[in-house]
Amino acid sequence: MTQGTLAPGATRAHQRFVWSHLIEPYLYLTPALVLIALVMLIPLVVGVSYSFQSIMLLKPGQAEWVALDNYLALWSDTKFWISLENTLVWTFGSLFFQFTLGLGLALLLNTSFPLKRLFQAIVFLPWAVPTFLTALTWAWLFNPLIGPLPHWLAAVGVLPEPFNILGDPDLAIWGPIAANIWFGVPFFAITLLAALQSIPSELYEAAEIDGATAWQSFTKITLPFLAPMIAITVMLRTIWIANFADLIFIMTGGGPANSTQILSTYIFTTAFKKLDFGYASALAVALLFLLFLYAVVLLALRRRFVRL
């Protein structure tokens, strides 16, 4: 930092202000900004522009602008509507069980019992398992040749005979959902546990002195305290799950007969297998728009119902 030796105090203060508010922070930030801009933000803009072009790597010829053709094709594409419906089942099916089981686990971890630290490490483990391995493992568990699940399901009467539900159009989506629940419970437990630990214990003590039952302290203290955290976690998680294509792509590839095709796997297979980048980008923009709409609606609801 060089400063004129004769500079009056005001100028020097100004220079220091400029240095520490405009220049110095950016010296530390620039690498991150450059990387994010180059690899994420610019491709994002390019991706949106692709959705107005016809870019098929398998067909020779230059890319050309086709205005809204991709979106018009999308509107009359039955596969798109099926995927949209499946996206809803996939997202909310996974979310519901991840959340309830995650909340249960967080409440459990907020009490004390022997070997709790070891227990916590074990139950959080699925979160660290690579997603491709989670997908393969669950695909194998559902395979009647080497997996126990079809036999168990048949034994309790859910299935008439032990067959692979991943091959059944009516049931296939529950395979990846099961894998997603297994993988996602630790995440909810971690986030909710942190929120639980921030509730002052005096509140519970006071409630107990006043004769409140465990259920009353849960509904009157725990839930209201958790509500803001729940709202934000559920919203972020919904978006994340809706975007999450890995499990379905590996377990079923969207089949059988598109019964597990969700929007994000449809985007990926369109880009990866058909190399139709224009249409894949249009699908991606549609998904982004729907997620944005969802976030806006949820935030509006939150403002109305959750008093902070």
Binding site: Y26, P31, L35, S264, F268
Partner: protein, 279 residues
């Protein structure tokens, strides 16, 4: 809980719940290991039995010496370590800036970083493919490193920021008073104190890069530079009857993630909640 102590039924319920969560978390992994150590000739007769009557490590030795998995493993290790190192250095800088400065454009930059965590990453898979292809970097590990580093920088930045926030500002003020520049103070005083944070960030990025599969599938098509997930999926679609070998490979893929997980799991509750939210 006091209530639980009074009511034996609740205590019983609690231990039942503990048992349920333990089985739920461990069973799929147990099954993976079980099939991996089941000898080939027993797989179809005892495939669904809870415990194999005989065990072997043959599947592991076959996977390691007779297939390409060692190469996939090496590729994945290079990609994950390089992404983790680059991301952590870059995110430490950015996290430090967020933690110690109030500057013009800060809110905008935070908003942009949050945005990158929200939009479908698949949206940029086509542009990235075109850019990487134009640069002649298809099938190269370096393109993956660059992509993974960028994907993880925003989250790692928020994580590092929370670690820097936990270190008193007085420490570097004192060092700067004694004549250090800010960068020297950061390097000599602050960074040594953030070592656990740096380790946790390294671990998060490593595990994320280790398990990424969709961009790896798109950008890597030659067997020589396949990462572990891509190699494994190729193996599964080609030799889908070698159950024992596939699961042995799966168990091997689990090792690095588990090592890092054991290391980072103490920071989980602290780290995940202080900055951002990520799978």
């Amino acid at each position: 809980m006091a209530i639980a102590r009074r009511n034996p039924l609740l205590t019983l319920g609690k231990y039942a719940a503990i048992l349920f969560y333990l089985c739920f978390a461990l069973f799929p992994l147990y099954w993976l290991l079980k099939i991996a150590i089941t000898p080939d000739q027993l797989i179809f007769t005892e495939g669904t039995a809870l415990w194999p009557s005989d065990a072997t490590l043959g599947n592991f030795t076959k996977v390691i010496w007779q297939t390409d998995f060692l190469r996939f493993f090496r590729n994945s290790l290079i990609v994950s370590l390089a992404s983790a190192a680059i991301t952590t250095v870059i995110a430490a800088g950015a996290g430090y800036a967020f933690s110690r400065f109030r500057f013009r454009g800060q809110k905008l930059i935070i908003a942009l970083m949050l945005l990158t965590q929200m939009f479908p990453l698949l949206m940029i898979i086509a542009p990235i493919y075109k850019i990487v292809a134009a640069l002649g970097l298809l099938n190269s590990l370096s393109s993956l490193v660059l992509v993974y580093a960028a994907f993880n920088v925003p989250f790692a930045t928020f994580l590092m920021q929370s670690f820097f926030d936990g270190i008193p500002k007085d420490l570097e003020d004192a060092a700067m008073m004694d004549g250090c520049t800010r960068f020297q103070a950061l390097r000599k005083v602050i960074l040594p104190l953030t070592l656990p944070g740096l380790g946790a960030t390294l671990g998060f990025v490593f595990t994320a890069a280790w398990s990424e599969v969709l961009f790896a599938l798109m950008l890597i098509r030659s067997e020589d530079s396949m990462t572990f997930p891509v190699g494994m999926l190729t193996f599964v679609s080609k030799f889908s009857v070698d159950w024992g070998q596939m699961m042995a490979a799966g168990v091997l893929a689990l090792i690095p993630s588990c090592l890092f997980f054991i290391f980072i799991q103490r920071y989980l509750v602290q780290g995940l909640t202080s900055g951002a939210v990520k799978g």
